[in-house]
């Protein structure tokens, strides 16, 4: 992960005259200072929502899947929508840590740590749904290939099973990646916390890291390899999630454009979520020097690009539907735009395709308020995208006789709200006890980190 001075001439990635020490203090102290009041309030609310989630799950398990709005023909409802939505969000973290790392994007260092944290918590929220949406929750473990007395094995033809492996692997690797990144920072905290318990806990997780170069050598190699592995992984995960739909024969699902389209959408929503959280964190913790306008603008550019990819996919779907010449295919897409769910379709279109266009203007790109609002709008839009794909296709498929309108029940809605409780409970704990910016990596992108820093200065003098 050695950086060369070739790209330094661009905007400084850390503003203000920071030294290594002041950066360590700026980030490290957050974990030691008593938590601000807002933190306790937010944490309380999150816990209430988390309780709500658990209650809803309990009710679901007690009563049966029928408490949801799902029906015949719409066998998948909010549960699957939420699953895909959360997994999508969970793509930003690894993307930032892996792909941007391979592309040597130094600016990632400001946000990769909590983008990864967000990824992990989002994937946890997502993983709840495949578990609870099945009719016999207590048998969900049958989806795993484990030797058993009945000598039965799962069906490897099923995209749902691919999902189990894809999302499972993705969660595991993201967690390892995140932890590996955290090790040097655990060491930093170990060496600076006052409380002996803190030192013990952080020390335990630091695994005895010394910062010796013989360790850095293997560490950097491992990080590079992980990035190289995570890159195809992150692309494969939403590809495979999209197979849940693409491999079926239902018009509106059976589409080859889904893999790239889903991946773009995932990055789109993931960056939007990172943006939302980052803008809050930088304000609340005064990290403006680290998470600069420059960062915000770069991320908005990615949102703009991926947003347009998604928009292109929407239009391509219609073209292909017409070009295919298949009655059912055509009807499915006309129904989306003109049918009983048109309201959902156009909400999606407005949020995902129209709204990002504001970012063509530098003024908007660099405006905190605009970025914040649009980042939320984008995630609303992405939820509706999954709604449109899942529900409208099922509601009106081949035989008009079996068409049926789907509408959620209060259980669906409260369960979804509950997942935010889970997410923010984890996230707030992360902000409180872990360095939300990778201290080791952020220092590397400071000019002082360059061994020839002093000489070059001398040269000019």
């Amino acid at each position: 992960m050695s950086q060369t001075s070739t790209y330094v001439p661009e905007k400084p990635l850390v503003e203000g005259n920071h030294t290594f020490g002041s950066l360590t203090a700026l980030i490290g102290d957050i974990t030691e200072k008593p938590a601000p009041t807002w933190w306790y309030i937010a944490f309380g609310i999150s816990n209430l929502l988390l309780g709500l989630l658990l209650t809803m799950i309990g009710y679901l398990i007690w009563e049966g899947t029928g408490v949801w709005g799902i029906t015949n023909p719409v066998g998948w409802g909010w549960a699957i929508i939420n699953f895909v939505w959360w997994v999508g969000i969970g793509h930003a973290g690894t993307l930032i840590s892996a792909i941007l790392f391979l592309f040597r994007q130094g600016w990632r260092t400001a946000i990769n740590r909590f983008a990864e944290a967000m990824t992990i918590f989002a994937v946890i929220c997502a993983l709840i749904f495949p578990g609870i949406h099945v009719g016999r929750i207590w048998l969900a473990y049958w989806m795993f290939p484990f030797p058993n007395g009945m000598q039965m094995w799962p069906n490897f033809n099923s995209p749902l099973l691919w999902d189990v492996f894809a999302v499972g692997t993705y969660f595991t690797v993201s967690l390892l990646f995140w932890y590996v990144g955290l090790v040097p920072d655990f060491a930093t905290l170990r060496d600076r916390v006052k409380s002996s318990i803190g030192a013990k806990v952080y020390g335990f997780f630091a695994l005895g890291w010394t910062g010796g170069n013989r360790q850095w050598q293997h560490y950097e190699k491992a990080y590079l390899l992980l990035a190289g592995l995570a890159t195809p992984l992150v692309l494969s995960v939403h590809t495979i999630v999209s197979f849940d739909f693409a491999v079926s024969i239902i018009p509106g699902w059976h589409t080859t454009i889904f893999p790239p389209y889903f991946v773009a959408g995932a990055i789109f929503s993931g960056f939007a979520m990172v943006m939302t959280l980052m803008l809050l964190a930088r304000k609340l913790y005064g990290l403006e020097d680290i998470m600069t306008i420059n960062h915000i603008e770069k991320m908005n550019l990615i949102i703009l690009v991926t947003g347009n990819m998604v928009g292109f996919a929407y239009i391509m779907e219609f073209f292909i539907a017409w070009y295919s010449g298949v009655t059912y295919e055509k009807a499915a897409f006309i129904n989306r735009a003109m049918g009983p769910y048109a309201w959902a379709y156009w909400t999606m279109f407005l949020c995902n395709v129209i709204s990002p266009q504001f970012f063509w203007s530098k003024k908007m790109r660099t405006s905190i308020v605009a970025s914040f609002i649009l980042s939320i709008v984008v995630n609303i839009g992405m939820w509706f995208e999954r709604f449109v794909i899942t529900v409208t296709s099922l509601a009106q498929d081949f035989l008009p006789s079996s068409w049926g309108y789907y509408s959620p029940t209060w259980v669906d809605i409260l369960t979804y709200l509950g997942t935010f409780g889970l997410f923010f409970t984890f996230f707030l704990l992360f902000l409180r006890f872990l360095p939300m910016v990778s201290m080791a990596e952020i220092k590397m992108v400071m000019p002082q980190a360059d061994p020839h820093y002093n000489e070059s200065k001398g040269g000019h003098a």
Partner: protein
Amino acid sequence: MSTAQPNTYWRSLNELSHNDEYKRFVDREFQANATELTDGYSRRNFLQIMGASIALAGFAACRKPIQKILPYSRQPEFVVAGNPLFYATAIPFRGAVTGLVVQTHEGRPTKVEGNELHPDSLGGTNVLQQATILDLYDPDRSRNILLGGESKTVAEFSAFCAEFFTSGKRVAFLSEATSSQTVSRIRRSLSSRFANSTWVTYEPFGEENALLGTQTVFGSKLRAIPQYDKANVVVSFDNDFMSSGPDSVRAAKLFAKRKKVMSTQDDMNRLYVVESNYSLTGSNAEHRVRVKSSEVAQVAFALAAAVGADGFSGYSNAHSSHDILNQMAADLRAQNGAAVVVAGDDQPVSVHAAVAAINVAIGSVGNGVTYAALPFTDSANQNEAFTKLISDLKAGSYDALVMVGTNPVYTAPADVDVKGALSAVGTVVHLSTHVDETSAALPATGWHVNRAHFLEAWGDGLSYTGAESVIQPLIQPLFGGLSDIEVLNLIATGTFTAGHDLVKTTWGTADWREVLHDGLRKGTSFRAEAARTASGAGQAVRSLADGAASVDGIEIVFKPDSKIYDGRFANNGWLMELPDPITKITWDNVALMSPATAGQFGVEYPRSSILRAPADEEPMVSITSNGNTVELAIWVVPGHADDSITVYTGYGRTHSGRVGSGQGVDVHPLRTSGSPLFTSGTVTKSSNTYSIASTQDHHSMEGRPLIREATLVAYKANPTFAPDLVKVPGPIDDNGQAISLFNEQTFPEREPQWGMTIDLNACTGCGVCTIACQAENNIPVIGKNEVRRGREMHWIRVDRYFSGDVNGNPQIVHQPIPCMHCELAPCEQVCPVAATTHSDDGLNQMTYNRCIGTRYCANNCPFKVRRFNFFNYPKTFLTEGTDPEVVQMAMNPDVTVRFRGVIEKCTYCVQRLSRAKIESKRETNSVKPKDGSVKTACQQACPSDAIYFGDLTDSNSTVVQTKRNERNYLLLEELNIRPRTSYMAKLRNPNEATA
């Protein structure tokens, strides 16, 4: 193609208004003939059915049938535990019995089938007969004899009878229609013992008008027995003979015989229907004339005049000039007797008289129709007799009233004060299966006698055509209970005699064993009367015709419900949840009307918005007639006559039981003895709304080639119109199949390969397949709210689509949809746990124990035939009610009862297939049963033999013949999923003159 597709299919009811703009959009966006699939078709759009509450209600199946039977310490003869036994019996309904064969498991009746030896069943059944098993095991049935609410023993009741019914007592008998010879025998002794007694037969929708009609023409009450198999042309005046009438099974069987077009050489019959409400029979008509029910008579008279019926010379009315009428007349005359005109029991005497006159005029008597005298009817007009009886009772002209069955307090017209009569007479005996409205209204000195179900008691009767049949009990009465003959005999003699002896006395012992075996005395039937027009009949009919007046303004038409009839089956969950064949409504009755009429009540139609909010409810009308008002949901049926509202009776029961009570609205208050069939009334839009559970809310085929239809002529011109309609693109492999990306699995030689064909031309859409399947496969009943959510569990459903002009006279097509058992089943590959796989004999199997309920298979089924147990329906059932064990006895022990969270679906009745394979293996050492030796439940029940099933490896089997038929086509063939179930295209045989 255009010949193959005469109708331009219109979009869903609710957005036809969007038709044009929508089409423009379509044409702009997608050029027409962009695909070979859409030629000649309009394109699709949208409409939804909504659910709201997630509450759980109603019946369901149960987990394991617990059988309250003793172990066979001494093995009864023939009984092998696990193997069912079959007994012949007969089911009485409205004065006619139909032969049945009942399957029993360890002495427990579980399934009824038609008796092939019986001329009125010919092996078929209707929905009421299929569902009767659930009536037998209805835990809400009355379990005691009650005197003023106090439960009494049979001995006490016998004592009362002996002591009270002394000779000379003035006793009034009010009985449901019965043809029982034993009853007739006992009646003789009754009338001799009680000189001043009277016997009145009361049926709210009886055949009295029909008999009076023939009486007018022939001088005596004769029953018209249509011979549909002999008739090239059938004209029905508001007669829904394919639905659940007493003659429906025979009618469907014979009618279907004339619709079996197996080659271009074959011909088929032609059906004209004149009616107001869109009936099942109407949906099968070539030509349907929609007029108000009160106008039907006018059409009949006009036809009578057109065919030159006696007494109609010079007669003419508004309808006489209509082309269709004259074409009808010409068509009838051209058949020289091979035609029949029938009229519905819900039509006045004048219509039946006119129809009789027409049949005489066209010479179909003894050919298309025969007339028979009924040994059990009284010459008096029973409708009048009933009202007279009630007033006499109030006047105190009788010491006692004995009611055999019937529920007059609920079913009697509003102006007939039955309650008053009951309290006036004091001593009342009411024989009834339930403590119904009438039993509940009994005075303190009134006896309620719990009646035995016909499967529990001995009895007998005459079939519609007069076959002498015996009713053989299959099981001891579950709740005690006496049969009608036992009670009547008790009153007649004062001593109790077992039904068996009573029946045997009537029948004698000569051929007793044979009769019991066959279920009837072979070769017996009514003698066909010469049916000569009585002198002066012409004038009589003519005067009726001249006197007949139709209702001005809006008419209210009362029809018995096709499922629960006059309410007597209201406590049967299977029937309640069976979708109405036309409206697909479950659990409710509504006000059926045409789009135009609905418009009068501000019901925008088609509705402006194609969206339906989840909580959306139907607008209601309040109908006031004869001083009473009822509110009903408005339900638009395209093709219904304008200015006419049809309401079904049988709903809104108060003492029906857990299932029937409080479901729907009681419309009897609107009926009067003066106008029991249709009446005028003031109808206003109500501010209330009502939620309706309909299983199919989208009524258009969207121009998709799902049901393929042609006229007989077009078919003969192009026999392969149906398969030609869809050309599957891409290369074809050696077996003529579209190629796959992989080498498909093959099936082993030794195994049979099951396949099914459904002849859409024979199928009438009655829905008996659904009930038969429900009875055979332990399918739960889930209640109105769940159905509203779209969670009905039926394994085979009947899709119904409208075609033609929504505001005019559209046509209806029906299509039964079971699991297609696709060879390349899309459902199998997506199941993560391999819970659904393919068997060696080509079945798409569902392994309930392995299923974890991801519902992915249901999503991926293009036919949406997979059903999901959203709740633990069985558990709900087991924990509800007095003693659920009773209903558990109705379950088929050969079929697993499914539990919460698993998918279920049609199995081709795998339990029957396995049994047949075992039998065959034992006999022929091959697991391929010989053709016809195994039938699926739906196939066996179907009265019009529309379903063929068998082994595809047996090239001589009937199913293979049908698969080779040129009308045979695969649904959604272009998906290359290779369904094992295929369809034979529908044909209609319209009168060329109308073209």
